[in-house]
């Protein structure tokens, strides 16, 4: 008997696709992450506003923690910048030849902006 289609998530992750593959994985995770974040946030606010439930407060406490802010901020920043890259390359297919280079370029935008923001968030969290 042949083995069935042989790709577990783990096997897939081990594939050495490099930058573009990881950019896609992060785009997917960040997109889903944002959706979850926005969805819960809206739901919680709704429950609080309509039924005076505590859920909103609990969730907001988590959301406002500095660690969570870093994650959310990264997700949004990465998803937005990478999304823009995807859109640009899709609208000018000739550029798709340089996808690998484009992913590098993208990090040149993300890293400094994210670094600065993280710095601000952290100093604010610990510096008062």
């Amino acid at each position: 008997m042949p083995l069935k289609r042989n790709v577990s998530y783990w096997e897939g992750l081990k594939y050495k696709g490099g930058g573009p593959m990881w950019a896609w994985i992060l785009h997917r995770l960040s997109g889903l992450g944002i959706l979850l974040f926005v969805g819960l946030h809206v739901l919680a606010s709704f429950l609080t506003a309509q039924f005076g439930s505590d859920a909103g407060i609990t969730i907001n406490i988590i959301y406002e923690s500095w660690a969570f802010q870093i994650i959310v901020y990264f997700s949004i920043l990465f998803h937005a910048v990478n999304g823009l890259r995807v859109i640009l390359l899709d609208f000018w297919p000739a550029l798709l030849e340089y996808e690998r280079e484009a992913v590098w370029a993208e990090w040149f935008v993300i890293v400094p902006v994210f670094g600065l923001a993280t710095y601000i968030i952290i100093t604010k969290a610990f510096g008062g």
């Binding site: 042949p2 042989n6 790709v7 897939g12 696709g17 573009p20 899709d90 297919p93 690998r100």
Partner: protein, 233 residues
């Protein structure tokens, strides 16, 4: 120099689960990984099983994962991958034995995109004319050898084998942009469907894996553009 080759093994008649075997042998840095596998099969372990034919990258038999990426064993030199080499079958197709996977699903996807020339006008006495520029338009995608290195490197295909995959799209591209062909519309309609080009998330693994250096992601992008604009030039 001494090279160790770690090989994925699965024999359906003996094994329940795949395992790895390690072989050590002397090799030249300029030898092909395929040469090493041939030598192992000839002198160390006759049961090692893989496909091969041309041995110089034109027949598409021996796509496999070498040190984690899809390559042709006959186009990968030892010096390209180092002294520690791991070979495993390509992903996303059923493994029949060692490096041999069932290619049927791959070819089924290929056949589903009308990968053949269609022109129903009566042919002229001589050739149909085509300018060098028109010929150049689809040159890149004529190079495909159907090795499946691209399709089996694509996470979208791993997720769902119904996705026709980059290789089939490349072969559709070859005809869609051929100025002599008349079935571009039918092909594009297939590709605009549920398992067509929109399963491609421009992950780019395919382009990096293609041993013929075809700009696959670009070809897919051109097809998306053609679907959206109707322009085939």
């Amino acid at each position: 120099m001494q090279v160790t080759l770690k090989v994925y093994r699965y024999n359906p008649e003996k094994d329940k689960k795949p395992h790895y075997d390690t072989f050590t042998l002397e090799a030249d840095p300029t030898e092909r990984v395929l040469d090493l596998m041939e030598r192992i099969k000839g002198l160390q372990d006759g049961t090692l099983t893989f496909r091969r034919s041309c041995a110089h990258g034109v027949c598409g038999s021996d796509a496999m994962r070498i040190n984690g990426v899809n390559r042709l064993a006959c186009k990968t030199l030892v010096q390209d991958v180092g002294k520690k080499i791991t070979v495993e079958p390509i992903l996303g197709l059923p493994v029949i034995k060692d490096m041999i996977v069932d290619m049927e699903p791959f070819f089924e996807n290929y056949r589903s995109v009308m990968p053949y020339f269609v022109n129903n006008d009566p042919p002229p006495n001589g050739e149909r004319l085509q300018s060098p520029e028109e010929r150049e338009r689809f040159d890149d995608t004529t190079k495909c050898i159907l090795c499946a290195a691209c399709t089996t490197s694509c996470p979208s295909f791993w997720a769902n084998g119904k996705y026709v995959g980059p290789s089939a799209i490349v072969n559709a591209h070859r005809f869609i942009f051929d100025s002599r062909d008349q079935a571009a519309k039918e092909r594009l309609e297939i590709l605009a469907g549920q398992f067509g080009v929109y399963r491609c998330r421009t992950i780019f693994n395919c382009t990096l894996a293609c041993p013929r250096e075809i700009q696959i992601t670009k070809a897919i992008g051109e097809i998306k553009e053609a679907i959206a604009t109707g322009n085939l030039d």
